[in-house]
Subunit: 352 residues, 2 copies
């Protein structure tokens, strides 16, 4: 097979990869080569004090020349303090997750933990697969999981496990609760108080297939109901969780319901796409149609007009998850983990 050339890329790889993996150089080989015991090599490698500096250097040089590198497995087996946690996110390309990741990485680093990252795309199959991996590969899991069977599997096992968004789950399930109810309420009431009555909702289509309670959508219905505002069910449009998805959903919405005066989006990505498309279609924002997002992504400040949104402290979310994982790892039982709630804050910019 010839090397394939991607657009804008020169150079490629043939599939006949050499597989003559050089066998691992072990500490014993280095010991033998330098004429000392394996113990002395260990001392040299680990910078212990009880060793002749000269011997140390000789050993280090030989080790380097021989291509020696200690096996993390052998080490981990004997030392019990090497901790790796698994971070499961839905989509690296959704700016929400890099911010969470930043919080996790920082908190983990402070503790000297390694972080393995997994991406699920919120696909059920992938989520289940990743949860399985987790059990084998890490000491604790921190995960954003949509599908209830993946969550069930994850929490049923013996792995310390923290949910990044525990939703309405039992107190015994460790995780952070994002107060969507409070957030959605504040957001919708803001819209209503500004006179909006025909408020559409652009929902995340992933929730349609997942057997997960869809808090934001239910809340939309609930708050509108409480305020006595009739809702046309077609005001709710499912959108792919992306900017393009938001744009497409907005176009669908407008083709049927030109008369909506505001859009409450599942999140900022969808809101941004929707707003962009609405403007491209000639609507003025917020005069003809107002837009309200959820998440508080910094890219919301880039669009015109800047997006009004419910801001979530995503970095803190990641940090808290690590703190909970630390408690679990420290031996605390699930139901002793203190409850943590993140409160979305309404940030009024200019789109609503």
């Amino acid at each position: 097979m010839a090397a394939r050339y991607a657009e804008g890329v020169r150079g490629g790889y043939s599939p006949n990869v050499p597989t003559n993996r050089k066998p691992r150089v072990t500490i014993d080989q280095v010991a033998q080569a330098t004429g000392v015991s394996r113990q002395t090599v260990s001392r040299a490698i680990n910078n212990k004090t009880e060793i002749d500096p000269e011997t140390r250097q000789r050993i280090l040089d030989a080790a380097q020349a021989m291509g020696y590198r200690p096996s993390r497995f052998a080490r981990g087996l004997v030392r019990q303090d090497l901790i790796t946690i698994g971070l499961v996110i839905a989509d690296v390309l959704n700016p929400f997750f890099p911010e969470v990741t930043a919080g996790v990485l920082e908190a983990a680093e402070r503790r000297g933990w390694q972080v393995v990252v997994y991406n699920t795309g919120s696909e059920r199959r992938k989520e289940l697969e990743v949860v399985d991996m987790l059990f084998d590969q890490v000491d604790a899991g921190i995960a954003f999981l949509l599908h209830h069977d993946a969550i069930a599997k994850a929490t049923a096992g013996n792995l310390p496990f923290v949910l990044l968004d525990k939703g309405g789950r039992a107190p015994a399930v460790p995780g952070v609760r994002i107060d969507f109810e409070g957030g959605a309420r504040r957001g919708l009431e803001y819209l209503i108080d500004r006179g909006h009555r025909r408020i559409a909702m652009l929902d995340d289509e992933a929730y349609l297939s997942a057997e997960a309670p869809n808090t934001r959508r239910e809340l939309y219905l609930k708050v509108m109901g409480e305020r006595g505002i009739p809702v046309d069910i077609n005001w709710i449009q499912p959108a792919h969780n992306s900017i393009d998805g938001g744009a497409a959903a907005m176009e669908r919405l407008l083709s049927a319901h030109k008369d909506v005066t505001a859009v409450f989006a599942y999140n900022d990505l969808i809101a941004i796409g929707a707003q962009l498309r609405a403007r491209a279609l000639g609507l003025r924002v917020p005069e003809d149609c107002a837009f309200l997002g959820f998440d508080g992504l910094s890219i919301g400040e880039l669009v015109e007009p800047p997006l009004t949104t419910l801001h979530i402290d995503k970095r803190r979310l990641g940090e808290i998850a690590v703190e909970q994982a630390a408690l679990l790892l420290g031996g605390m039982s699930e139901n002793e983990i203190p409850e943590a709630v993140i409160e979305p804050q309404l940030i009024v910019r200019a789109s609503a």
Copy 2:
């Protein structure tokens, strides 16, 4: 110490974390409890065929109840096919890196590899520290490194190592070369051909402290020189590598040089910040001042006017790095690794 409460966050953690780590349950304990040999337990856990389904279930139940989870270290020691690679990036919050990460995660997943992620912030100390970790914790490293001593350390060791941006380094250093020269040339010539003569450059200040060749800046000087266009050295402003950094640098630039007609930015983040600030200050884009970015981030499409930029296929960059790591891991020597070059593509949107 009382629990601290972050803004918008309820709940906190006291520092007196219980540290009564429950001792690990081993396969032998499960064996003993179920009255079989440890081998049979191993068979049950690993879903081997040669086992009585009934026995298997009994063992599985007991294991679950006892909180047993196999040790990845013990396993890794015995099986030689568990591969973990380290991905070192500068900043999760710069959208450039999530895209690279997406490529790496995908390619790694196809191979069944784990990916540990490290963030350096491009700080020299952090880079050196992370390189050290790498040697201990992973089978191969893929890294974006700025500081030459960190790079030297990384490539000198025995760890298979791939640079995400090898710049002008020797062919024997595995890594991907991003053709900044071709890119910058195409970009600058585009500006020059559109009649621009007073073209400023907003540079990444991180290169000032790092002992790294700054390709983009040199190229700017070179191309301008070739075209016989005089450059005022104050047209070059250092910027923090962020949107805010770009904005601040633009303001500095304008206070001294109102007369520049175009800005060539180190990357999209800086370009976006600069353009936003320029417009806030009353300039029309591109009429009063044109903006050209580098990287081709998708957020460039969100600003108004959309950013003209030199697009890098970041996902492919990550994939290639994994392919190179695979070759190295397969036993191929550094200088046999086929050269890979990523060619930035000029995407003309509306800012220039």
